[in-house]
Structures are given as structure tokens and as C-alpha cells.
């Protein structure tokens, strides 16, 4: 039973290692916050978010198709394989898309697929970057007006931005845990091998493990490579990502923090009439967006078929 969960734990670990950069990447890569401070805050808030608000996403994903433990393991492994392959290809990863793609594969094979639930999920995928952009476009002038009114000197402004980045990073981590824990363990709840509480705890802890053990290189490189924005914009981006992902948590659909982040950066770019994300990166995001669920779906079908092959002697 325990080994069956390993695929999920691996998925959670890679999710934590990759996606924590969206919450703390800017602060850590620019050396505003020490990695260990960011990692501990991130881990604590991911687990808190998962335990307090992770239930809704789990219920949506487990409702997409019927599971047994074998199918749940196949889903996890297929999603993990997709995430690994996409990472190797250097394309942006959405663990949510990988998991849903894998569930879809199982659903197609078992001919039991809740299309209304799937429609809700896909709509949310499209809405994530748009939501990120709109929320960033709303927050940027709103917080900016307050910030300007405070008339801070250079040191006060520095302190405020630093505290703001830590707080928004913590909120982003909370939203990540609350929203993405379903990716890690919803299939096991669907298979009846775990309670929702245990699933949120296992999912939260595995994401936290990824943050604590392997998010440093991603935070230090992805945080710098993704975009180059000023500290105030970085704060708005992280906050907009947190709010967007949190809204989708209430709706009950796991979405990608990377997509919300890129949407927020684009939103700020539109607002300020500057180019914040290059075309190549946008192209990669679009390719990743389309390829991830398809690959995961194919992997889960292939794994399911392979697991049902029997040796027939002549």
C-alpha cells in the first residue's frame, strides 16, 4: 500500500521543487531573502494551505473518473513521467495539466469520463493566465496608489518591499498547497485508499519536502530567468499569482502557478506598455500548455495497457 503512494509522493516532491519558485523565486534569486528562510516559510504555508483548503480540488479530480488503486498509481506515475520529460525538454510545467491528462487517459480506457467536470477544469486552465493578468492589472495601480501616498524614503520602501515579498510569498505558498495538493493525492482518495485529510497531509508534506530539498536551484535560476521586473512589480506578480490560484482553489480546480505568474507578468507589461515576457518564452508556454495533458494522457494509456499485458506461452 505504502509503495503505491510513491508515485504521488514523487509528484508532490517535484511539484514543490518546481513551483515554489513562483512564490519565492524573485526574493531568493535577488538575495532579498535567504533560501532557508524562504524554504521553511514556503513549506509551512504549503502544508497549512493543503490541510485547510485542499479538499475542494480533491473532490473535483476524484469525480472525473472511477478509480481503483492500480489506476491511481498509473495516473501518478504517468503525471510524474510527463513532468520529468517536460522538465528535460525545458518546457514550462503544469503539474495540474499532467495529472488531469493522466486521469483523462484512464477515463477514456474505462469509458467513464465526467465531461462536465472536465469542461470546468479546461475552462479554468484557460482562465488562469487571464485571471492572473486581470488581478495584476487591478492590484498594480491599487497598491501603487497606497504606496505612493505613504511617501516612503529609500530605506522604508526597501523594508516594505522586503516584508511584502515574504508575506506575498507565504500567501503564494499557501495558495499552492491549497490548490495543488489535489494533483498529488486526489487519485488515491478516488481509489478509496485514503481519507481526504490523509490525502491533504501526505500531499502537503510531499510538496513541502520538494521545497526543502530541491527548490534552491529552481528558485535561484528560474526566478531570475523567468522575467526581469522591478521589486514592486515582483511583489504584485507574486500576490496576483496567490490570489488567482486561491480563487481557483475555492472553485475547486487545480491550476498552474506558473501560468498564473506569467499571466500576471503579462498584465503588468500591458498596463505599463512594456515588454515583460519574450516571444520565445510565450511560445514555450503555449507548447507546454497543449503538450502536457496530451502526453500525460498517452503515458497513462500506455502504462495501463502495459500493466494489463499477460504472457501467453505458445
Amino acid at each position: 500500500m505504502i509503495t503505491s503512494f510513491l508515485g504521488g509522493i514523487f509528484l508532490g516532491w517535484s511539484l514543490g521543487a518546481n513551483d515554489a519558485a513562483n512564490a519565492f523565486g524573485t526574493a531568493v534569486s535577488s538575495r532579498m531573502v535567504k533560501f532557508y528562510t524562504a524554504a521553511v516559510i514556503g513549506a509551512v504555508f504549503v502544508v497549512t494551505g493543503a490541510l485547510l483548503e485542499g479538499r475542494a480540488g480533491i473532490e473535483t479530480l476524484q469525480g472525473l473518473t472511477a478509480f481503483d488503486l492500480k489506476k491511481a498509481v498509473i495516473c501518478s506515475v504517468a503525471a510524474a513521467l510527463t513532468v520529468t520529460l517536460m522538465t528535460l525538454l525545458g518546457l514550462p510545467i503544469s503539474t495540474s495539466q499532467a495529472v488531469v491528462g493522466a486521469i483523462l487517459g484512464i477515463g477514456i480506457l474505462s469509458q467513464r469520463l465526467d465531461l462536465s467536470g472536465l469542461g470546468k477544469v479546461v475552462t479554468c486552465w484557460v482562465a488562469t493566465p487571464i485571471g492572473g493578468a486581470l488581478i495584476a492589472m487591478l492590484l498594480y495601480p491599487l497598491l501603487g496608489a497606497v504606496y505612493n501616498r505613504m511617501n516612503l524614503n529609500l530605506f522604508q520602501s526597501d523594508r516594505l518591499l522586503k516584508i511584502g515579498l515574504i508575506c506575498s510569498g507565504a500567501y503564494g505558498a499557501y495558495a499552492l498547497g491549497a490548490n495543488n495538493v489535489a494533483n498529488v493525492s486526489a487519485v488515491f482518495v478516488g481509489a478509496g485508499s485514503m481519507t481526504v485529510f490523509n490525502a491533504t497531509l501526505l500531499g502537503g508534506l510531499s510538496i513541502a519536502l520538494g521545497i526543502l530539498t530541491f527548490s534552491r536551484p529552481v528558485m535561484e535560476t528560474v526566478g531570475r530567468r523567468l522575467v526581469r521586473v522591478d521589486p514592486y512589480s515582483a511583489l504584485v506578480v507574486v500576490l496576483a499569482m496567490g490570489v488567482t490560484v486561491h480563487i481557483f482553489t475555492w472553485i475547486g480546480v487545480p491550476v498552474s502557478t506558473s501560468h498564473a505568474t506569467v499571466g500576471a507578468v503579462l498584465g503588468i507589461g500591458i498596463l505599463r506598455s512594456v515588454k515583460t515576457v519574450n516571444r520565445r518564452m510565450l511560445g514555450n508556454i503555449v507548447i507546454g500548455w497543449g503538450l502536457t495533458p496530451v502526453l500525460a494522457c498517452l503515458f497513462s494509456i500506455a502504462l495501463y495497457v502495459a500493466s494489463n499485458l499477460y504472457y501467453v506461452p505458445d
Binding site: 501603487g144 504606496y147 521589486p231
Partner: protein
Amino acid sequence: MLSFLFKKEHRVEALIYDYLDNVERTQENFLKALNACIDNPFCENFEFFIDRTHKYESKADDIREEIKTLMYGKTLIPDARGDIMGLLEAIDTIPRLFERILYIIQTQKLEIPDFLMPDLKDLVRLSLECCVLMRRQVVALFKKNESIRELLNIIDTHESHCDRIERRMITKLFESGITPFLKLQLKDLTVQIGEISDQADRVSKRINIINMKRRV
């Protein structure tokens, strides 16, 4: 509130004020040296104040290095780090100019002719006034106690006035009957003194940009 989290930032702030104090001491000694030179170019006081100017200029350099080391040890957000270092390096040009001007007079044993004296005194007075205003502007950037924009306008006006005096001095020099070699030496001295207000103006504009950058 939360000041215990920002010990290094407080230290950087204190060091910046310390640095500005040293620039002020350098300026005071530069003026004393120049006055001593005008009274008697080869007096002992002149040498004494040159040494003092050098001492404070070196101390300002040391403080700047300490600030740099402290800042790159994870203090302040990178944007602010770059702004402060750029600002301090720009300010640092001024004490170096003070030192250079005194060394020109000392090593070339220059004597200022009487016909240049009133303009030279005016140029020095206005240039140093620009430096005082510039320091007030730096403090305003960190304390927000007065308008950076207003100080920028005053410095700009002073700098334009200094440019006019500088041109007038050079014209007078080349119309005078002193030797061509002395003309070139004095022209170099005039240009170097004129550079003080130019640099103060550059620093002032930089401060204004740093301040503007912090508005959303």
C-alpha cells in the same frame, strides 16, 4: 517596528550619514586650504589643510568600501543596492576633485592673478554651495524631510551660473598678458573648479531619478 530584522540596513544608513559628514569635512578643509593659498600660496597652513583634505577624502573612501561590503552581504534589495552604490560613487568624485585642485596649485606652484580673484571666489563659493545643497538632497532622499525637486532646481541654477563664471574667467585669462604656459595652467585650474558644480548637478539629477523610480 520589526527594526531588529533590519540591523544591517540601519548600519548602512548610519554609514551613509557618516560618509556625508566626511565629505563635508573634506569640503571645509578644501575651502580653508584655498583661502590660505589665496592669502599666501606658500604658507604652512596651505600644506596643513591639503593634508587634512586628503585625510578626510581617504576616510570617506574607506566608509564607502564598508558600505559596499555590507550591502553586497544581502542587505537591501538589489535595486536599492545599485542605486546607493552608484550615488556614492558619483558623490565621491567631488572630494577627489577637491584634492586634485589643491594638488594642481601645490605641485605647479600656481599663483592666482588679481584680475581673476573676484570671479574665482565667486566660482568657488557657488560650487561649494552646490555641494551643500547636494548633500541636503541626499539626506532628503533618505529622510524625506524636504523637496528633492526644489533642491534640484536651485542646484541647476547655481550650476548654470558657475558655467557663465567659468567662461568669463577663461576669456579674461586669454585676453590677459600673462605667459601662454601660465594661461593653460590657470585654464586647467578653472575647468577643474567648474567641474565641482557640474558633478554636483549630475549627482542631483541622479538623486531625482532614484526618487522618481520609487514612485509607482
